[in-house]
């Protein structure tokens, strides 16, 4: 459905997008992942014919973005980072305007407006002015605007940015819901979003594509060693975490032990094992045989976040973007 070859965008001094190539099959949801300023928006703008590429080609449904922009635009629904709404228009008026722009008319138009209002749950604000809507509603109107002409391809630039956790979940569900009918490319810097919604992940950093793979493959690829978290408790007074540390380190297969947290009679350790050695059984036995209680033992799966950091080599996301808060 989408084919991008050696796509490049250069500005006077910087190269925003540097020779990226990828292909998206029909019906796929693709996550475009990267830190801020990595070139996600620029790539999307080239795909939507908003910006012409400096070199390389991109085709949507077989039409080149430079040679046949009108054909491409007919097949694309685009939600920019800030929903492109006119504050002085009412919701239904706005959707009708966009529908007409995209070539709908008459009964067809009325039907599609009703359909997208239902689909994006904005029927209750149909006659309200867009300027008076909340951020979540505006985002949904933006999404409704993108799907009004039933496009083959949906391009969503940070569709959940600036929403509260409940709205984020709703938007994600809506996107997943739409996936059956449209090919979707969405960009984000929020990692759980990709983990939850996308089949294919494109990781982009400083304009270069650093990885293209499925979420599962990416996790597997980045995980060199397995690590488990164990919580161990002993009798108050006589519990000595350093002793436990020593004991665990001597186990066969264990490469590194870290004490992550320490309370009066309990402690949490992260135990890293060598590649392809399964230590969880030995670990549990050793702990119990030494007279301690094993409160918890769970695998510390490498999250996409770590994969991402490893691939982009960038700093951890700032607190307000941290996935912990998002999932709360």
């Amino acid at each position: 459905m989408i084919k991008v070859t050696q796509l490049t965008k250069r500005y006077a001094r910087t190269t925003a997008v540097d020779q990226i190539s990828f292909e998206v099959a029909k019906g796929q949801i693709v996550g475009f992942l990267g830190p801020n300023g990595a070139g996600k928006t620029t790539t999307m703008r080239m795909l939507t014919c908003f910006l012409p590429p400096s070199s390389g080609t991109a085709t949507v449904a077989g039409f080149d973005v430079l040679d046949r922009p009108l054909e491409v635009k007919k097949r694309i629904g685009y939600l920019p980072e800030t929903p492109p709404i006119y504050p002085e228009m009412a919701t239904s008026e706005y959707l009708q305007f966009v529908g007409k722009l995209k070539g709908l008319s008459g009964a067809d138009l009325a039907k599609r407006v009703d359909y997208v209002c239902g689909r994006c749950a904005i029927a209750d604000v149909k006659s309200k002015l867009l300027g008076k809507l909340s951020k979540g509603y505006r985002q949904r109107v933006g999404l409704a605007q993108a799907i009004i002409h039933n496009p083959d391809v949906l391009i969503l630039d940070e569709p959940t940015a600036g929403l509260d956790p409940k709205q984020i979940n709703e938007t994600r569900d809506l996107i997943k819901d739409l996936a059956g009918e449209h090919t979707i490319i969405l960009s984000t810097h929020i990692l759980p979003e990709v983990e939850q919604t996308c089949e294919l992940v494109l990781i982009i950093n400083k304009g270069k594509l650093v990885a293209t793979d499925s979420v599962r493959n990416l996790q597997a690829r980045a995980r060199g060693a397995e690590s488990v978290l164990v919580e161990i408790a002993g009798r108050a007074g006589s519990f000595e975490p350093s002793l436990v540390l020593q004991k665990l380190e001597q186990l066969p297969g264990v490469s590194r032990v870290l004490c992550k947290e320490q309370m009066d009679a309990r402690a949490i350790f992260e135990v890293e094992s060598k590649k392809e050695s399964f230590v969880r059984g030995d670990l549990a036995r050793a702990i119990v045989e030494s007279g301690w209680d094993l409160n918890e033992l769970r695998p510390a799966a490498m999250s996409l976040e770590e994969v991402f950091l490893q691939l982009t080599g960038s700093e951890a996301p700032t607190p307000e973007e941290s996935p912990v808060e998002v999932q709360a």
């Binding site: 920019p80 492109p84 228009m89 722009l101 995209k102």
Partner: protein, 255 residues
């Protein structure tokens, strides 16, 4: 053509959904009403004087009232037209809605034409206010209709040209105030370019005077349709819209 109309309708909608259109209408109505009242007063005063002096000469309503009033309108235009055009593209650029228009299956030319047409229609609405005042003249006197219509056409063409220039300037910035201020400056300069012909006859002065939008209106005010002058305004409209299209294109390559 359908797309032009869609854009035009939307623009008219935003003019009339906000107070912008009404405030412009009211202010124009007030200003022109005052101008009219003054011109009429002077006309009455002069005609009484000429009768009292015993040597009464014929006074023409067209020449004494309509012509000076319509040439005054082109001065009012200098203030009103930037107010109409300044938001056309600057606002869309600021709020990001330009991305919606540019990624819709619509040509740049259709967007530009639609916006300019909307501005022209709003201007025509404002401008038609003057007809209310002139209706009194027709009720109480016998002015010639044809010269009035020709003069109307001249002012309208001149406004179309200034609107095209304003539309172009609006694509250059995200800031409405800047777009308005620059448009006003450019319109005013184009208006007063004619002054140089008063003291200079060199080629550059003649070119400057020719470029002035006020030079080409005189024939219309006299009730004569001069095709040279009409072509001048149509050329300015075309150039203004052409530069708008180029500016929109360069926006994409640079942004």
């Amino acid at each position: 053509m359908r797309n032009v109309w869609i854009i035009c309708r939307k623009e008219l909608g935003s003019y009339f959904a906000s107070p912008v259109a009404y405030i412009l209408l009211i202010m124009f109505g007030l200003i022109f009403g005052y101008f009219f009242w003054n011109a009429l007063g002077e006309f009455v005063f002069e005609s009484i004087q000429s009768q009292m002096s015993g040597q009464s000469f014929p006074m023409n309503v067209n020449e004494w009232i309509i012509r000076p009033l319509l040439s005054n309108i082109s001065v009012i235009n200098l203030f009103f037209i930037p107010l109409i055009t300044m938001r056309l593209f600057a606002e869309e650029k600021r709020t990001g809605t330009i991305e919606l228009l540019a990624t819709s299956p619509v040509r740049d030319g259709e967007i530009i034409l639609g916006k300019w047409l909307a501005a022209l229609i709003l201007y025509a609405c404002i401008y038609s206010f003057t007809a209310v005042n002139f209706a009194f003249l027709f009720h109480y006197g016998h002015p010639d209709l044809k010269p009035l219509l020709v003069a109307y056409l001249g002012v309208f063409l001149q406004a179309g040209a200034l609107l095209a220039i304003g539309t172009f300037i609006s694509t250059l910035t995200k800031n409405q105030i800047i777009a308005g201020a620059v448009s006003f400056g450019v319109c005013l300069l184009l208006y007063v370019f004619a002054w140089v012909s008063g003291y200079e006859t060199a080629a550059w002065a003649r070119v400057m005077a020719y470029m002035s939008i006020s030079t080409h209106a005189d024939s219309f005010y006299k009730g004569v349709i001069n095709s040279k002058d009409a072509v001048f305004y149509l050329t300015v409209i075309f150039l203004g819209l052409f530069f708008t299209a180029r500016s929109m294109e360069s926006l994409r390559w640079r942004s």
